[in-house]
Symmetry: C2
Subunit: 313 residues, 2 copies
């Protein structure tokens, strides 16, 4: 394909897939594609979906996507997979998402693996969102498992963030709840027909009130049974309310400015990481250093300072 960016803008799905692959694998053309697509971004509304493993986030997201489709909106879904740290591949893969949605030309689903190096995932995800945005998707879901810090960082970059929980989870779920309490604009208790749904709702309400800060948006607690399609419309309505709310009070602009800032920093970190590796790893310098460090002739801190001094102006 000669000009991937132009084809994306024309609505070519194959080009969309290729663009995201280029980003994911850091192909040489990735930057050029993004430079061309960037002016065409800013239209899509980005929804973050996070929560502990087993909360049924994928099923819920699929149902919400269908509801948006029913309303005539196009939908992109980016699912961040907890992937094998060694083989590098995404595990859940698109395989599991092979359902009626994948046959709908108004929907594009993409898994992205946590391929490791450079912590580049957050800026890669941000770029994938932009590609889908430029392609013309109205709504873009970014779905992560809300345990790792980097995964939480990714999802909190959304315009509206939904935290999905389920009743009756294990010991340290308490910690996770607290950890993601502050990032949720909306809390959804999925599998709400299971024992303990009301208890969880009460706990969440208490935790949200405990906060003490008076906010102009009190995160609502929704209940769904995603696989029975129960509560789906209501969640979509609530997304709409939150969107309207933050648009009116200016928060949407604030959030997006903050997002641009963080993306810029991520991008810088990633670029500089690549530069360091080209100067320190590819040249064999790192191996030399490790040998003298292991021999206790010097220490990593002194050597890191020297390298930083050498590399920076």
């Amino acid at each position: 394909m000669e000009n991937i960016a132009e084809e994306v803008l024309k609505g070519n799905r194959l080009a969309l897939a290729k663009a995201i692959t280029a980003i994911e694998n850091e192909y040489d053309n990735a930057t050029e594609i993004m430079q061309k697509l960037y002016p065409h971004t800013g239209h899509a509304y980005v929804l973050g979906v996070t929560g502990p493993p087993g909360a049924g986030k994928s099923t819920l997201t699929d149902k919400l996507a269908k509801e948006y489709r029913r309303q005539g909106k196009t939908v992109g879904i980016i699912a961040i997979d907890p992937s094998s740290p060694f083989s590098g591949g995404a595990i859940l893969g698109d395989r599991i998402r092979m359902n009626s949605l994948t046959l709908d030309p108004g929907v594009f689903i993409r898994s992205m693996g946590t391929r490791g190096s450079l912590g580049g995932l957050s800026h890669k995800t941000a770029d994938a969102v932009k590609v889908m945005d430029a392609f013309g998707m109205d709504v873009i879901f970014v779905e992560t498992v809300g345990v790792g810090q980097s995964e939480v960082d990714i999802v909190k970059a959304a315009d509206t963030t939904m935290v999905v929980l389920i009743p009756g989870m294990g010991d340290d779920i308490q910690a996770i709840k607290a950890g993601i309490l502050e990032i949720g604009d909306i809390f959804t208790i999925n599998k709400a027909d299971h024992d303990g749904a009301d208890k969880l709702a009460t706990e969440l309400n208490m935790m949200l009130d405990l906060d003490g800060v008076i906010k102009d948006w009190r995160p609502p607690i929704m209940k769904t049974i995603a696989n029975q399609n129960i509560g789906i419309k209501e969640v979509v309505e609530t997304f709409g309310k939150h969107h309207k709310h933050i648009e009116e009070n200016g928060q949407l602009t604030v959030r997006r400015t903050e997002r641009t800032k963080n993306e810029m920093l991520d991008l810088l970190d990633s670029r500089i990481g690549q530069y360091i590796r080209s100067k320190v790893v590819d040249t064999g310098k790192l191996d030399e250093l490790v040998a003298v460090i292991k021999a206790h002739e010097t220490d990593p801190y002194t050597e890191a300072n020297k390298i930083v001094h050498d590399l920076l102006k």
Copy 2:
């Protein structure tokens, strides 16, 4: 305290706590402390413990620590907490670990929060391990929730890594299992009296065999009921066997060299990240850039390239 590093080497627990606090908060004296302690490291054996939330990792680690104590070994525990991404504090905290262990002068437990910025957690954890090592701990546990990539990266830096699982977890546990399958030297099924323990063992065995690669160490699958102290001794024995195995075949040296390399890169990323922030954020340049980017006068990719060009030699 005048000289924290010297006090750590003398076995002063308060100094140990202060040193780790200095690392965690990036105090000015952190680098100096590490430079002084580094020559005294390399003695401790580092055990990584990871697994999904609710697997009972903390309880299991505590019991294993007690078994090591019974054998006369000193033990450090570093627990990585899934923390609030906004308030920044660790959530589980030391509170939960306030048990008989904390009264034992041969044990030191420390939680470290995933305080966000710079992805500095892995090099901070590595430094905390070194402080405990220099202090004289024989065995150091590093415990993380094995879902996020960064958390997995941290734990896989150990000499021996144990993955803890429990029977009967939710939908996408399959993905997590696969994701951490390759990092486990030892798999432990905790809460082995629960339904499905045998099924999980069979599944794990299948997945490990599916791998196809012939290895000189086939990860054993252990069963424990940590809160009843069942299977604890056997796990400690297995740690010992793995230690002996990788010492004899040279893998221990290979792993530690690899670890030193990765730590060096983490350290460089962190140092250069600080430098970028001092040049780009603190000066207000980022705000200016974001304003022109938001106005679509330029794009983040072009600007990031310019900054990299300006900052690096």
